[in-house]
């Protein structure tokens, strides 16, 4: 049976045969962030794929990865498309460089993991918090349940990390 979760008015669906996404989101539901690690390359990859992008190796293990990093870039949405997001504008979609494997296997590569900017409890960050976040902000991962066996990774400001004096933000507020 496919897993179907209603989330923000969207029917999020993971088919049985989609083993990679099934496992990824199932670990998230357990509060674990795991990525595929290619057996031949020893390299982690995101999002889930069916082979190792560096070696074509189809064998891998799901290994725990620290959900910490810095904002590489973002989208800050003021005019939402999906109806359920309209009540949360402005909201941010963060593209986060994980500390793990940053700059590997080549200089400009990183595990760039998507997620919304949320509060520690998983609720959308309010506008005054959005205004403090930009490129360079240190964040940590939190999970938000969709349905049984399915949670989504999101990002919240890492309270324990040393933050940049002024993360880069688009000049117009």
């Amino acid at each position: 049976m496919p897993i179907v979760g209603d989330y923000m008015g969207m029917a999020l669906t993971i088919e049985d045969v989609d083993k990679e996404n099934r496992a990824f989101f199932d670990y998230c539901a357990k509060g674990e962030f795991r990525l595929q690690k290619g057996k031949a390359s020893g390299l982690l990859r995101y999002p889930p794929t069916t082979a190792c992008p560096w070696t074509t190796d189809r064998d891998y293990d799901w290994v725990p990865v620290e959900g910490k990093g810095a904002v590489h870039s973002y989208a800050e949405v003021h005019h939402a498309i999906q109806p359920a997001f309209k009540g949360h504008t402005p909201y941010m979609m963060l593209l986060v460089d994980l500390d793990t494997q940053k700059g590997q296997p080549s200089e400009h590569e990183a595990l760039r993991v998507a997620g919304n900017l949320v509060m520690a409890d998983g609720s959308f960050a309010p506008p005054d918090v959005v205004r403090t976040v930009g490129i360079g902000t240190r964040v940590r991962m939190v999970f938000v349940d969709v349905t049984e066996g399915f949670a989504l990774p999101h990002w919240t400001i890492d309270e324990t990390a040393e933050q940049p004096a002024a993360p880069w933000r688009y000049p117009q507020e």
């Binding site: 179907v4 989330y7 923000m8 969207m10 029917a11 999020l12 669906t13 993971i14 088919e15 989609d18 996404n21 989101f25 990859r45 995101y46 999002p47 889930p48 794929t49 992008p53 590489h72 870039s73 973002y74 989208a75 800050e76 949405v77 003021h78 005019h79 939402a80 498309i81 999906q82 109806p83 997001f85 949360h88 909201y91 979609m93 593209l95 296997p105 080549s106 200089e107 400009h108 590569e109 990183a110 595990l111 760039r112 998507a114 997620g115 919304n116 490129i135 989504l152 999101h154 880069w168 688009y170 000049p171 117009q172």
Partner: protein, 422 residues
């Protein structure tokens, strides 16, 4: 591993198709909101106009290609309506960056002897039926598997998906919103001289910056228009094109859906402020035998002001990082050294997933852009080259054009066309 070493192209492969094929006819419907026509009717209308433009009849066309995102009509219906018996057809999935790729496919199938002349169309009710921005029906569809990694985050529409590239370009190179707004200023100037354009009003940098923010860094006026329309281009061999009504626009080089690494999610491989043109240019220029400095008119895809700038930069029209300076220098405006999207493009004329920008450059090469200049006794427009509002938009002595098609930061297509040297 440097960016360049990841995907090396053999740019020395034989260029024997350079200058062998041409665009023999172009046509379009009106650009409207609320067409009150089916996509089948729109397609028929545009193809008929392209046939009339070329002078080709139903018996002369035996190939058809179309592209869509499941929001259009299949080629066999349209061909049947027009009495065209097909030796070849294909309906391809995709939007921006399709037209240059499909022109390449048309050349390939003609060269393979599969057919002789191909009509390529895109028919869409992009405003009244399936909105490209993703509102309405598109925001309500189930989100399956791989799509969850973006759509679940309200990261769905084109502007939302591309925003990290645009913002990172500002961060990496100091590009400003005002610089990029000049793309809208230029294209709106061009549209004011295009009777077909949906938006004909000239805009200022302040108009753009003061319009409401949609998704940073995009203001409303940084975004293209959504319209209902169909467009058509007819491709055939240069020899056959020379027998047609219009002067051929000769195809020198095509690139089709060239991708950055990790096309499953291109953001994994940076620099993310670099777009697919960085790779595509290594095919485009050597195969055409010319460089950006030789080009008279560009057609850099303007889904957003930023997409025009990023592509002009990565195809080498200026130094990497100098795109903001380039688009705000006046070069891309009519009267400048290398105008871009002289029809007003997607920002102003209408949204066609790239085809109207190629049609415009075909007309530029013919020297017969359809502006408001008077028509002389020989039936041709007497172009004044006065680019003031409501006037001319024909560029003087156009020999070479470049179209730079955009699907997303990670995928692009391109084409160089030339005036027939004969």
């Amino acid at each position: 591993m440097s960016l360049d070493s990841v995907t090396e192209f053999d740019a020395d492969s034989p260029k024997f198709l350079r200058g062998k094929y041409a665009i023999a006819g172009v046509g379009e419907t009106t650009y409207r909101r609320g067409s009150e026509e089916s996509t089948r009717n729109l397609a028929t209308w545009a193809i008929k106009n392209a046939m009339a433009d070329s002078g080709l009849g139903a018996g002369d066309i035996d190939g058809m290609l179309s592209y869509s995102g499941n929001d259009s009509v299949h080629a066999p219906w349209v061909a049947g309506d027009l009495g065209i018996r097909l030796n070849f057809y294909m309906d391809v999935h995709g939007g921006g960056s399709s037209i240059e790729a499909l022109i390449g496919i048309a050349i390939g199938v003609i060269e393979a002897g599969m057919c002789k002349t191909v009509a390529i169309y895109r028919a869409m009710n992009g405003y009244s039926q399936v909105r490209i921005g993703g509102t309405g029906a598109r925001s309500a569809v189930p989100i399956v598997g791989d799509q969850i990694h973006h759509r679940a985050y309200g990261w769905q529409s084109a502007g939302q998906m591309f925003a990290p590239t645009f913002l990172r370009h500002m961060y990496d190179y100091g590009t400003t919103p005002e610089q990029v707004a000049h793309v809208k200023v230029a294209h709106s100037k061009h549209a004011s001289n295009n009777p077909k354009a949906y938006y004909k009003q000239r805009m200022t940098v302040e108009d753009v910056i003061n319009s409401r923010i949609i998704c940073k860094p995009l203001h409303l006026l940084d975004c293209c228009v959504e319209t209902d329309n169909a467009t058509c281009i007819i491709v055939t061999s240069l020899d056959r094109a020379r027998d047609c009504k219009q002067a051929p626009a000769v195809i020198q080089s095509v690139v089709g859906r060239c991708c950055k690494p990790r096309s499953d999610m291109h953001y994994q491989h940076g620099p993310i402020s670099t777009v697919a043109g960085h790779y595509a240019r290594k095919i485009l220029w050597p195969n055409a035998g010319v460089g950006p400095e030789d080009i008279d008119v560009t057609g850099s895809y303007d889904a957003f002001t930023f997409t025009t700038m990023l592509q002009l930069e990565d195809y080498g029209f200026c130094k990497k990082g100098d795109g903001g300076d380039y688009v705000s220098s006046g070069v891309i405006e009519l009267g400048g050294a290398r105008p871009n999207n002289t029809s007003g493009g997607h920002l102003c004329e209408g949204y066609t997933h790239g085809m109207n920008m190629v049609i415009e450059n075909v007309r530029q090469i013919r020297g017969e852009v359809d502006d408001s200049c008077p028509i002389g006794p020989d039936g041709k427009r007497q172009h004044t080259h006065d680019y003031s509002e409501g006037g001319c938009r024909q560029v003087k002595d156009v020999e070479l054009t470049a179209n730079l098609g955009w699907a997303m930061p990670g995928t692009g297509s391109a084409m160089v066309m030339a005036k027939d040297a004969r």
